[in-house]
């Protein structure tokens, strides 16, 4: 022990008796009580410090605590315990005491460790709550009993356009511009009800809010009263959810549902129509052959044929619109199709098209007929929106879409084609219905055009959007998935009717179709037989084999009501003769089999109503190939035998 410390201890002991008598008069402290002299030496410490704080009073007395240096007589300090790493937090209060001519210090030190731990806990919990609130996907606002904002999360800041510091203290109706629907009518009534209610209160449907971005959005608001630990009312919480996006998706789903229902009807109609057209077109073709060079007759037949072509287009439209309607896709650039169909739509019009396509526009997998239909419709609409004529801008670009950027589309690469006019525009209240079937803003028109376009885009894995402003113009945006495939070589042009020879079996439940097809093919040199069902087909096919005159080719209707389908019939026939060639024919274009016929064992497809020239080439090529293979095999067999 140093000299000074020893001297100090002696002095302290001398005065301790007198001092202890003084302190006996003082009330019991639950804190540390220190008497410090002018040099900072501890003259007295209450004995309870041993019990309360584990400190040894005999070691403290005479020690140099230090002269207290605080601003206002108070300071927080750490009391270090001997043999412990854990100091305890003390709240020190200093009172100056005059002793003779000196200033001594009477210190009380309150142990606030527990309190500080509790405060730290509160701070941590506050931080945790703040983090949870910030991550909360909906807007959250806490208001006091007067409706003034106390707290809100970042989503609420984004929705309202107010930051928390700006919003705090303001009435919630100032920062939330909400028009309420039923049952409250006004946001104010809702708030009044909320403050009186013990349960959560829902603002109700059709609440509209002016968001910070200026957009009008539909919101759901649910309020709940808050209580303090004493069960007294302590304000309320409001959860605000932007449901606009959800509503849009619901509307899209509803529209697609409607389209599906009408599509079912259209599908049946189109199928029956195609069979009838088959009969008409087939007989017209036959008659054309029969009349020879009679020009007047040929001209009449040509007009009749054009009318049937027109009917065929309507049927095709209905089919495209109907359930399924799988596009028969090809990988190529969409630019030529757009140019061609736009040009066709504007023939005879005062409007002009201006095209803008980048050189590196991605290829698209698409059905040319269907896409031509889309752009013909869109450009026609654009033209009609500008009765005096005008400029229609058609442009395309490659885009990379993120999740949720365009409804129903997955993130990825797309080609977006925009068709814009500067016409009359579409009224806002009609925009959401523009793709509904039979909805039209025009005096004339079926109201099917845009519904068909929408349906086509959806079947191509894309989407059709519209943006419009009255008296400014309208833009339709067509999204197509960018192709990952390589383009195929260009298809051949229209050929003349090809005559040939061979034996063909026609299987179709529609008598008119079967008979017409037979007559057509016989006219161009083939030996044909037509049957109406699977049983007859197998019998006739087998008999032909038995008599040594097998069929070279079968033309099978895909769907035979009340019977097995073309695919199954082919299976049965191939069990008898594996080498027979087969064409699948159908009035439905949406069947999976037609889009992928080779996978189902067929060698070609023929969509009804047939084009005589086209089917004559298909039949000719298949039979020639079949006979050529048979001949090669025969020569090989002979060679082996020899």
């Amino acid at each position: 022990m140093s000299k000074n410390a020893h001297a100090n201890r002696q002095e302290c002991h001398h005065s301790s008796t007198q001092e202890s008598r003084i302190f006996q008069l003082l009330p019991q402290f639950k804190d540390i009580l220190l008497l410090i002299d002018s040099n900072g030496i501890i003259r007295y410490v209450n004995p309870d410090v041993r019990r309360l704080f584990g400190l040894q009073p005999e070691k403290l007395i005479g020690s140099n605590f230090g002269i207290p240096m605080t601003g206002d007589g108070n300071a927080l300090i750490d009391i270090l315990r001997q043999n412990s790493n854990m100091p305890f937090l003390g709240d020190m209060h200093v009172n100056e005491v005059r002793v003779d001519d000196d200033i001594w210090y009477l210190l009380t030190i309150e142990n606030i460790s527990e309190q500080r731990r509790f405060e730290d806990f509160i701070v941590r919990e506050k931080h945790r709550l703040a983090a949870i609130l910030q991550d909360f996907g909906d807007g959250l606002i806490i208001i006091d009993n007067n409706g003034q904002v106390e707290l809100m999360n970042s989503m609420a800041e984004a929705l309202t356009g107010y930051s928390l510091p700006d919003a705090q203290g303001k009435h919630v109706e100032t920062i939330l511009q909400i028009e309420a629907g039923q049952p409250f009518g006004t946001f104010n009534k809702f708030l009044n009800h909320l403050f009186r209610s013990e349960k959560s209160v829902d603002l109700g449907a059709e609440a509209i809010m002016n968001s910070a971005s200026g957009e009008t959005i539909e919101v759901q608001v649910v309020g709940s009263g808050l209580t303090d630990p004493g069960q007294q009312r302590n304000g309320a919480s409001l959860i605000i959810r932007n449901v606009s996006t959800r509503r849009k998706l619901e509307a899209i789903m509803l529209r697609e549902d409607k389209l599906q229902s009408i599509g079912l009807l259209a599908s049946g109609l189109a199928h029956d129509m195609n069979n009838l057209l088959m009969g008409i077109l087939g007989n017209l073709s036959l008659t054309q052959i029969c009349v020879g060079d009679n020009e007047e007759a040929l001209a009449t037949l040509e007009r009749a044929e054009k009318a049937v072509e027109r009917a065929k287009q309507i049927s095709h439209k209905l089919l495209t619109f109907s359930k399924g309607g799988a596009p028969v896709k090809e990988t190529k650039s969409i630019v030529e199709s757009i140019r061609e169909s736009s040009g066709f739509a504007l023939s005879g019009s005062a409007s002009v098209c201006q095209f803008n396509f980048p050189h590196n526009l991605s290829l698209v997998d698409f059905d040319e007929t269907q896409i031509n239909q889309v752009f013909q419709n869109l450009v026609t609409n654009a033209d009609q929106a500008m009765p005096e004529g005008g400029l229609i801008e058609v442009s395309a670009e490659n885009v990379l879409l993120q999740t949720g950027e365009v409804p129903t589309l997955l993130p990825g690469k797309y080609v977006v084609v925009a068709v814009s006019d500067q016409g009359v525009g579409i009224p806002k209240e009609k925009l959401s219905r523009i793709f509904d079937p039979y909805f039209t803003t025009k005096d004339s028109g079926s109201g099917l055009g845009l519904a068909v376009c929408y349906s086509i885009l959806r079947k191509h894995g894309g989407f059709l959007k519209v943006e419009s402003q009255e008296n400014v113009g309208t833009t339709f945006l067509c999204y197509f998935p960018a192709s990952a495939s390589q383009p195929k070589k260009s298809t051949s042009k229209r050929k003349p009717v090809k005559y040939g020879g061979g034996k063909i079996l026609i299987v179709d439940d529609e008598y008119m179709v079967a008979e017409t097809t037979r007559i057509l093919l016989e006219k161009i040199g083939y030996n044909c037989c037509d049957v109406g069902g699977s049983q007859e087909a197998v019998e006739v096919f087998n008999e032909a084999i038995q008599i040594g005159e097998p069929f070279d080719l079968v033309i099978l209707d895909l769907t035979l009501p009340g019977d097995i389908g073309g695919e199954e019939i082919l299976g049965l026939l191939r069990q008898i003769d594996p080498k027979v060639k087969a064409i699948v024919s159908s009035g439905y274009s949406h069947k999976e089999v037609l889009a992928n016929y080779e996978q189902y064992g067929f060698n070609a497809i023929a969509a009804k109503p047939y084009d005589l020239a086209d089917i004559s080439h298909i039949v000719y090529d298949l039979i020639r190939k079949s006979r050529s293979n048979a001949h090669s095999q025969k020569r090989f067999a002979m060679k082996v035998a020899n």
């Binding site: 605590f65 230090g66 207290p68 605080t70 300071a75 270090l80 001997q82 100091p87 003390g90 020190m92």
Partner: protein, 89 residues
């Protein structure tokens, strides 16, 4: 003039420690521009010093020179009182 030599004992990087350090640095930089040293010792990192230096509580400031040695305890927010108590001649 004798250079001012100070040693400040703290217990960890708490708000109390940071307040004391901030206040002392300000006092020194404002009033002892001729030169001073302020050594900061953390007794949490060097607990042996609690016993050897007889530190009862922190923040404890020891004026080492100019002598005599003096100890102070608190937050050191009253600059005038500190300067008077340190009293460099």
């Amino acid at each position: 003039m004798t250079k001012l030599e100070l040693k400040l004992y703290i217990a960890g990087n708490s708000a109390i420690s940071r307040t004391a350090i901030r206040n002392l640095k300000q006092i020194c930089e404002t009033n002892y521009t001729d030169g001073y040293t302020l050594e900061i010792v953390d007794v949490v990192k060097e607990p042996d010093l609690i016993e050897t230096e007889k530190i009862i509580a922190t923040p404890t400031l020891i004026k080492i020179s100019p002598g005599p040695e003096k100890r102070f305890i608190g937050d050191f927010s009253n600059a005038r009182k500190i300067i008077e108590s340190i009293k460099i001649s």
